[in-house]
Amino acid sequence: MSGKSRRDFLKKSALVGAGIAGLSTSSAKAGPKNILSEDRMGVLVDTTVCIGCRQCEWACKEAHDLPAGDLESYKNREVFDNMRRPDHTALTVVNEYSPGKSSNLPVDVKVQCMHCDHPACVSACIVGAFTKHENGAVTWDTDMCIGCRYCMAACPFQIPAFEYDKALNPKIMKCDFCYDRTKEGKLPACVSICPVEALTYGTRTELVKIARERIKKDPDRYVDHIYGEYEVGGTSWMYLTSKDFAELDFPKLGNNPAPGVSESIQHGIFAYFVPPVSLYALLGGIMWMTKRRKELDEEEKL
C-alpha cells in the first residue's frame, strides 16, 4: 500500500510539473505587443510657439465623439486659473504658466498621453488590453479591459483616466494618438487644427533633429533639453520650452523605461516557469522524505 502510494506520488508530481511547463510555453507567446519601428511617428510640442487657443482641445473632442461644444467658447481664458488634467471628458488639455525667459508671454503647455516607447501601461495591464503600435501610438482595447485601473497606478505621467461615475461599462480614457485618423492617412486632430503648428507631426528621429536644430539656433529662446527624448526610455511626444520643465509640472523622471524593474523581476520569477517548478519539486521531495521517515518510524515501532 505504502509503496504504491509513493509511486503514485512521483507520477502525479511529474504530471503536474509537465502541465505547468506546458502552460509556460504558451504564455511566452501571449502578452501584448510592443513594437518599436524605426520610422515611428511622434509629435514635437514647441510650447514657445503655442498661443494657448485651446483649439486642440476642441478638435480632440470632436474626433473622439466627446461633447465638444462651440469652438468659440474655447476663447474663455478663465479655465487657466486652475491647473487641469486630462480626464474622461477631455483627452487633452492646455495649462498656462507664467512667462519663461526672454519673453513676456505666458507659457502654454498641452497635456496628453506621451505615448512612451516602453509604456508602463502596456506592461502593467492585467489582460494586455494596451498595445504599442508600429506607428508609435499606445492604444487600448475597451472590450478586454476589466477596469482594474492598474494602468493608472503604473503610468509615470498619470494619464489614463477612468469613468468613475459610470456603473456599467466604465472606460479607461486617454489620448490614442488619433489611431483611427492616422490609419486613414490623416493627421491627429490636434496637429491638424493647431493654427501655429506648435505641434509638429513627423517621424520621431526627424523631430529630435528638428528640436536640436531649434535649440541650437535660438539658445536664448529655449531651455537646452528635449523632454521626452530620453525620459522613461523615450516618448513619442516631445516638448521644447522656454522654462525649467519642473516649473511646468513635468514629472522628473529617469531615463530607464518605466516597466524595466518590475518586468525583470517578473521574468526572473517566471523564467520559463523554472523557479516555480523547482520549488514544487523541492517541496514534493521534502514531503516525500518526511513521510518516509515517519513510515520507517512506525514500521520500527511495529
Binding site: 502593467a124 489582460v127 476589466i146 482594474c148 456603473a167 524593474v261 518526511t290
Partner: protein, 414 residues
C-alpha cells in the same frame, strides 16, 4: 501521541449572540454601500479619482487580505510538507481562514474593478509581463485549490448523513455514493494540491509586492525598493502563524472553548526567527538604499513607517522571544495582534500611504462608503467562519471521538 486525542468536530454553540447581531448590522451597512457602487458607479461611494486609482479596497481588502490569509499555506507547509503532525489540530481552522480570506479577496477585487462582469478575462487574456496578471491568475488557482483542500471536510460532514427533504430523498443514496467516491479520489491526490497551494502562495504573495514597483517614483522611497516582492513574501510568512494564533484565541473565546495553548505556544516560538529575517531584510534594504534620511522628516510617511516597523515588527519580535509571553494566552494574543496589525499597516502603507501621484491637489482618505464596505466584508467573513465551525468539523476538540472516521483528515499523506 498527543494529537490523536484531538479530533475535529462541529462546535456546539448557539449562533446568535449580541456580538453577532452587531456584526450583522455592520455587514448590512456594507451591503447598502455596495449596492450604491453597483448602481451608481465606483465614484459614487469612494474617494477614488484619476490621481488615486487605488485606495482602501485594494490596500486592505485585497493586499492585506491576501497577506493575512497566509496562515493557510504556512501551516499547510508545517503540518503536511514538513509533516509535523502535532499541528494537525490547527491545520483545518487555518485552512478555513485562508479559504474565507481568499474568497473575500476575490469579492474585494470583484467590487473594486470597474467592469466586474469581465473578472474572468485574465483566464483567457494573458499578459506575462504584468505582475497583476500573475497575482490574479495565482489567486484564482489558489482559491480553487483551497476549495479542493476544504472539500474533504464537507464530505466528512455529509457521508452517511445525506438526508435530503421530500421528493429529493430518493437521491440520498446516489449523493452519498458520489461523496464517497469524491472522498476516495481526493484523499489519494490531496498532496498534489497541498504542494501546489504552497507554491502558488509563494508566487503571488511575492508578486503582490512587485505590483507597486512599476509606479516607480510615484511611490515614497521608504517603501519603493526592488526587493519589495521578497519583503512581501517574508512578511506574509511571518504573519501566517500570528494570524492562526490570533484567530484561534478569538474563536476559543467566542465559542467558549479552552485555548489550545500547547500548540499555540510552540507555533509562537517559531515567529521570532521569521520576524527577525523580515526585519533584517527591511532594515538592510533601508541602509543599502540610504532611505533612513526620510525618517528625519516629520510627515505622514515617516510616522506611518515608524509605526509599521516599531509596533508591527520590533515590539512583537521582542515579545515572542520571551517564554512568559509564549505561555500566556493574553500576551501571545497581544503579540500576535501586533504582527497582524503591522502587516495590515504595511500593506496600507505600500498601496495607499506611499503612493504619491504627481498631480494630486489633495491627498486621499477613504470615504465613509469605502470604510463601510471593508468593515462589512470583515463582518461577513467572521459570520461565515462562525457558521462553518458550528456546522462543519473544523475545530479540533480534545478527547471526543466523533465524526465517522478519522482517516478523512487528509489521507494522501498518511
Amino acid at each position: 501521541m498527543s494529537h490523536d486525542s484531538y479530533n475535529p468536530v462541529p462546535v456546539k454553540h448557539k449562533f446568535f449572540t449580541p456580538g453577532v447581531v452587531g456584526l450583522i448590522i455592520i455587514a448590512v451597512n456594507g451591503l447598502v454601500f455596495l449596492m450604491g457602487r453597483f448602481f451608481f458607479g465606483i465614484g459614487s461611494v469612494t474617494n477614488l479619482n484619476n490621481q488615486y486609482p487605488w485606495g482602501l479596497w485594494i490596500g486592505v481588502d485585497v493586499a492585506a487580505g491576501v497577506a493575512l490569509a497566509a496562515g493557510g499555506f504556512t501551516t499547510a507547509a508545517l503540518g503536511h510538507i514538513i509533516h509535523k503532525e502535532e499541528y494537525h489540530a490547527i491545520v483545518r481552522s487555518a485552512l478555513l481562514t485562508a479559504m474565507l480570506g481568499y474568497t473575500f479577496v476575490a469579492l474585494g477585487v470583484f467590487v473594486d474593478i470597474g467592469r466586474w462582469y469581465f473578472i474572468w478575462h485574465p483566464l483567457i487574456m494573458w499578459n506575462g509581463s504584468s505582475a497583476l496578471f500573475e497575482v490574479g491568475i495565482c489567486v484564482m488557482i489558489y482559491l480553487t485549490v483551497l476549495y479542493i483542500e476544504f472539500l474533504p471536510i464537507v464530505t466528512e460532514r455529509f457521508i452517511g448523513r445525506v438526508n435530503l427533504p421530500g421528493i429529493l430523498s430518493k437521491l440520498n443514496k446516489p449523493v452519498d455514493k458520489l461523496l464517497r467516491a469524491l472522498d476516495r479520489g481526493l484523499s489519494k491526490t490531496m498532496f498534489v494540491f497541498i504542494i501546489a497551494g504552497v507554491v502558488l502562495s509563494t508566487l503571488h504573495q511575492s508578486s503582490l509586492g512587485t505590483l507597486m514597483i512599476i509606479a516607480g517614483p510615484k511611490m515614497h522611497p521608504l517603501w519603493q525598493t526592488p526587493i519589495l516582492p521578497l519583503l512581501f513574501l517574508l512578511s506574509a510568512i511571518s504573519v501566517g502563524f500570528p494570524m492562526v494564533i490570533f484567530e484561534s484565541l478569538i474563536a476559543a473565546r467566542s465559542l467558549g472553548l479552552k485555548p489550545e495553548m500547547h500548540i499555540l505556544s510552540r507555533l509562537g516560538s517559531m515567529i521570532a526567527p521569521l520576524l527577525g529575517i523580515y526585519l533584517a531584510f527591511k532594515i538592510g534594504d533601508m541602509f543599502i538604499r540610504e532611505t533612513f534620511v526620510y525618517l528625519t522628516e516629520f510627515n505622514t510617511a515617516s510616522v506611518m513607517f515608524t509605526i509599521e516597523v516599531l509596533f508591527g515588527v520590533i515590539i512583537p519580535l521582542r515579545m515572542f522571544l520571551s517564554t512568559k509571553v509564549l505561555k500566556s494566552p493574553l500576551f501571545i494574543f497581544i503579540a500576535s495582534s501586533l504582527v497582524v496589525f503591522g502587516v495590515l499597516i504595511n500593506r496600507i502603507n505600500n498601496f495607499v500611504v506611499a503612493y504619491t501621484p504627481p498631480y494630486s491637489s489633495s491627498s486621499y482618505f477613504p470615504s465613509y462608503g469605502e470604510i463601510s464596505v471593508t468593515l462589512g466584508f470583515v463582518a461577513m467573513l467572521v459570520l461565515a467562519y462562525r457558521f462553518i465551525v458550528l456546522n462543519f468539523p473544523v475545530i479540533s476538540l480534545p478527547g471526543k471521538a466523533t465524526a465517522p472516521k478519522t482517516k478523512y483528515t487528509i489521507r494522501g499523506i498518511k
